[in-house]
Amino acid sequence: MIAPSTNTAKPATGIPALFKTAFINALVALVLFALMVGIRTEAGSDGQLTYWTRFGELASLVGIVFGGSIVIELLRQWIGPAGTEKLVPPVVQSGLSFVGRYLAPALLIFTLLVPVIFYNQRYILDLAILVLTYVMLGWGLNVVVGLAGLLDLGYVAFYAVGAYSYGLLATNFGWSFWICLPLAGILAAFWGVLLGFPVLRLRGDYLAIVTLAFGEIIRLVIINWQSLTGGPNGVSGIPRPTFFGIPLDNSDDGLAAKLGIEYSSTHRIIFLFYLILALALLTNWVTIRLRRLPIGRAWEALREDEVACRALGINTTTTKLTAFATGAMFGGFAGAFFATRQGFISPESFTFQESALVLAIVVLGGMGSQLGVALAALAMIGGFELFRGLEGYRMLVFGMAMVLIMIWRPRGLIGHRAPTVYLTKAQAISSDLVKEGHG
């Protein structure tokens, strides 16, 4: 925790003021950390609590806050009030917008080539699959939050429904992935509609709590309905996907044997990679197409102004339900993919943390911007991966990053978007002009 920004109101000038601010911040930090960091408690074997002191750590933390305040204050005086104009010169800005136009196709081509470039680098391929899963989830949630403006804090519920649909259908009935995938999507969409009904009359934060509650209900039911879902133990032995019926294994019927090439376990990873890429691109394509259709325009109209929307004769009921259903369906697809990739699912994968992560990806990307969501997923999941070694500190750093990113760019990475409808020439719309997530 940092406590540097205690003086946003009056910028300190001069060295004495600087030290005064830093001293106050250090004092605040001392009180905050004195008990929590300075004293460590632990329950002994007999249930008796013991404690020992850690004044060294406490002192260094307070020292870091003191030094950090001075550094941040100096930086602030040096750069002046934050603003993109000062940080990024106009030449670079126009250059960036030029790059921006070709970034999406370039990124797509690079993604298509990832298995070729990183062939046999299992770790990178796994990470790429993970990033693409979150890209797909982000694009799916974007339909609900970014386009229709309905704040959904329980998106992970649909992910869970998709994963469990596939897991249970495949393990109990032995159905193949390609039959279960659409079924998982349909079931998740059905749950989306089911959630949609009670929230039709709700707005804003009431909507947020109901979706959050819904996500928790689904998770709690999965944990407690032991006979069906296996409870906390989860569902294991979920079959791997097949290449349209041909298994990707070392057997004589396997794809490698049929094609007459040598078997490698990388084949399956690469297949999974292209599978999730195709699913993600499907999500993207459907979203882009839907935006141009009457239903997509109704979503965006709903986001901007529900009352005006009704006055224009748009049926807000079907508009909200279709938004929930579409978003949920993509969540269900992603869930089915997750189940087949892991081969094992348990309620632990579907916590509120996941919902928050996907929502953070959508908001950080600049809601409604497809490219932004993809970049944000790359940044968040990739960044998250960097801290894999520091297990305990990972979520701490992640939370801090979320706070700092929001302060730095509350409107997300891509602050502009292409309009859906225009008269003669498409002009980018600043996201400041767009209402988002007001439910």
Binding site: M1, M36, M402, I407
Partner: protein, 305 residues
């Protein structure tokens, strides 16, 4: 009947704790219009600070329980209030005039920070304390041997809640700060023009909310005899549910919602199944909101055209 009465007592005690946390959500929502997702974790921090203060006082050789309780109450309220103040300064103030999802995500980020901060600082294991306040009263003993118990801790929790509510109601309705708060709730710009220090009022809102959460944390510690780093999430969601159920922004609503959630949870565990108590609480929330879209005591939202 006796069983019912016992569960009623248990539910009211649990509901008081939820209500105290819910007030923090509702106050912040009323003034700033944002959901302070980190509030549940502030409650957890309050519990931890109370625990550590207890340990220190006991190891210093203090034995007078009222003195210990008073010192622990004051210390945990003060430090937790400072946490609330700092969180507002770092994570919410820079986003005051931003679009409304930004402070919410910042709050979710803050909640992750606080949860994992206490996990890193204090470890992931449950921290129990020996029961401090023991004893109680037997209210009624039926012929088949079932007794209705009212423990001293339960009395203390309920009495503390009532006293705090009285102080708090007085604060909001009678003092200068309360007037400023109500003014900011109506219209921040206008309040600022009329000489209300909006920044300070908002800071004070967070400070008071955090102090109440600290009291709830202490009560939780005394009642259940343990704290752990993850308890803020569940308690926070329950209290948030309570605030929404009562009508977010309404103070009596928060208390009423807290009691409702506490009672629902207790009765459901007593008569149906413990596993599905949270499901029951959330389902009833959804059902209530279907018929009363702004909660039990919430004002209907005016749609501006």
């Amino acid at each position: 009947m006796d069983y019912f009465a016992q569960q009623l007592i248990n539910g009211l005690v649990l509901g008081s704790i939820y209500g105290l946390i819910a007030i923090g959500y509702t106050m912040v929502y009323g003034i700033v219009g944002m959901i302070n997702f980190a509030h549940g974790d502030v409650f957890m921090i309050g519990g931890f600070i109370a625990l550590i203060t207890f340990l220190i006082l006991v190891s210093l050789g203090l034995t007078a329980i009222p003195v210990i309780l008073l010192v622990v109450l004051l210390v945990s309220m003060a430090i937790t209030a400072l946490y609330g103040w700092t969180i507002e300064r770092i994570a919410y103030r820079p986003l005051r005039h931003s679009f409304r999802l930004a402070p919410m995500l910042s709050a979710i980020g803050m909640s992750f920070v606080l949860t994992n901060y206490s996990q890193v600082a204090q470890g992931a294991r449950v921290k129990p304390i020996p029961p401090f306040i023991t004893g109680g009263y037997t209210l009624h003993e039926s012929t088949d041997g079932f007794v209705i118990q009212l423990s001293n801790i339960q009395i203390m929790v309920v009495v503390t809640t009532i006293v705090l509510l009285a102080i708090f109601t007085w604060l909001v309705s009678r003092t200068r700060l309360g007037r400023d708060m109500r003014a900011c709730e109506q219209d921040q710009t206008m309040a600022a023009l009329l000489g209300v220090n909006v920044d300070r009022t908002i800071s004070m809102t967070f400070v008071i909310g955090a102090a109440l959460a600290a009291v709830a944390g202490l009560m939780y510690l005394l009642y259940y005899g343990l704290v752990d780093f993850f308890m803020g999430f569940v308690a926070g969601i329950k209290a948030f549910t309570a605030a929404v159920l009562g009508g977010i922004g309404s103070l009596p609503g928060a208390m009423l919602g807290g009691l409702a959630i506490g009672l629902i949870e207790t009765f459901w565990s007593a008569y149906f199944s413990v596993e599905y108590k949270d499901v029951a609480a959330f389902s009833i929330l959804i059902v209530v909101l279907i018929f009363m879209p702004t909660g039990l005591l919430g004002r209907p939202e005016v749609e501006k055209v």
